[in-house]
């Protein structure tokens, strides 16, 4: 199989990730639930992984790294735990349903009011709209760092200046960007980052987290076992325990930490450069196909690979072919895995006017090869014949 659906999950994981999970399965007890070696070793690994994550994202406090089962859970915890009745929130049309559905639910149940910044024909945010939407009761800007549909990278530093000047929280969905491009929360002015572990960070499914870069009180969403303060009737208020009731995903966290080790070893810039090379190769190999349309600023792809500033995603449509049929042909006839449809991001499809057709998304990983891209190009050309 040629796997080009890495924006859904990275299929091939580094060997050290597999080894770390295996080691965890055979060595670790339950962190914080005892003082014996197996428990302490588990706690040490989890703490070291918090440190790795904190450092990787340019944050300063490992205790403000909260493990979740994925980005969706992290975003739900943050959004439901932060906003109250009457609050106004600015977000964007590039958001995934992991942001949209919590916001819509609070709009219905708590009277939250919402505005969504639009995009232009290339998928770039209309940055002027952020300031235009600010009201006295605006609490936060919630923004997708890299669109899982277009691959466009949001200018977080620009948005953070607006958020900072207006005393708004900046909450970033890093589902596609974590592990793909550098993130420095301090430098970029990000208050809260929600990430998933199983995509570009190369961890296993069921991993993810929230990173807080300042003292922010988020309401608890679940309470229970904490390994500390057992006779306290309430969940301990200190992070990360405040938001981490119950046994953590110890094996998953071990794999996530190893994934970050792999990225640090190879270098995130080297990973991104290779992915941009593959993206550009697919673009250049298909651009002459009649009726093909991409959903990004294709001028970006005229640059050398190391200078291309884009997520590892190339979404396309070919006139007259439904995206579902296109992806099905690729899968069934050529054993090439892609993702068709709406990608859980309804507003961006409305903006691109692709609600009916969807798109076929090709998404790349460090482990993809030139040969795989060339095979995909050949397959696409045969399908459109």
């Amino acid at each position: 199989m040629i796997y080009l659906d890495n924006a859904a999950t990275t299929f091939k994981k580094p060997v050290n990730v597999i080894e770390a999970i295996n080691h965890a399965l055979t060595s670790y007890g339950n962190s914080g639930r005892g003082a014996h070696k197996a428990s302490l070793d588990s706690g040490r690994m989890i703490y070291e992984t918090r440190e790795k994550i904190s450092s990787f994202f340019g944050s300063s406090d490992p205790s403000k790294v909260i493990f979740t089962s994925n980005a969706t859970e992290g975003l739900n915890i943050v959004l439901f735990g932060l906003f109250k009745s009457g609050d106004h929130v600015i977000s964007t049309v590039t958001e995934h349903n992991s942001v949209l559905r919590p916001l819509y639910k609070m709009e219905k149940e708590r009277g939250l009011s919402l505005d969504f910044v639009g995009i232009d024909e290339c998928g770039r945010l209309k940055y002027n709209e952020f300031e235009e939407y600010i009201r006295p009761n605006t609490r936060a800007i919630v923004v997708n760092h890299i669109s899982n549909v277009s691959g466009e990278i949001a200018d977080i530093e620009y948005i953070s200046k607006i958020a900072g000047a207006n005393n708004l929280y900046l909450i970033v969905d890093a589902s596609q960007s974590a592990g793909s491009i550098d993130i420095d929360m301090e430098k970029m002015g990000i208050d809260i980052l929600c990430f998933t572990g199983h995509k570009a960070l190369f961890g296993p499914g069921g991993t993810g987290g929230i990173v807080l870069n300042k003292d922010i009180i988020i309401d608890t969403f679940k309470v229970g076992g904490s390994g500390v303060q057992s006779f306290n009737k309430e969940q301990p208020g200190e992070y990360p325990t405040r938001l981490e009731a119950g046994t953590l995903n110890i094996m998953g966290i071990a794999g996530l930490g190893a994934g970050i080790d792999f990225i640090n070893e190879v270098g995130i810039k080297n990973i991104h450069k290779k992915e941009m090379y593959l993206l550009k190769r697919l673009y250049e190999g298909t651009v002459d196909i009649e009726g093909i349309r991409y959903y990004m600023d294709c001028d970006e792809l005229k640059k050398p690979s190391e200078n291309i500033w884009h997520g590892s995603i190339l979404s396309m449509n070919i006139e007259g072919i439904h995206s579902g049929d296109f992806a099905d042909c690729l899968g069934q006839d050529y054993d090439i895995a892609t993702r068709a449809g709406a990608h859980c991001a309804p507003l961006i499809h409305e903006a691109f006017k692709t609600k009916e057709t969807g798109m076929v998304r090709f998404s790349f990983s460090y482990f993809n090869t030139e040969e795989e891209i060339d095979t995909a190009i050949k397959a696409i050309k045969e399908i459109v014949k």
């Binding site: 962190s31 302490l40 918090r50 904490s226 390994g227 500390v228 306290n232 301990p236 200190e238 325990t241």
Partner: protein, 78 residues
Amino acid sequence: MREKSWKYIVTFHTTTAAMAFEKLCEAKAVPGRLIPVPKEISSGCGLAWCVDFESANLIDDLIREENPSYNSADKVWH
């Protein structure tokens, strides 16, 4: 059972803080180890840092200089 003696016991609000304290002690070559919180301090569960009381000054210096997250530091017959 082990014979009791005077110990210096540091407690924490979270397991994460205990792990951070252990790592700090290792880095600064401060003696001690993590143990279950002694009953003389709390009937709850959790981890505590334990050293012979003779080393209490090293812990106090560490806390003053590095400002780690902790709950209490007490002399305990344990």
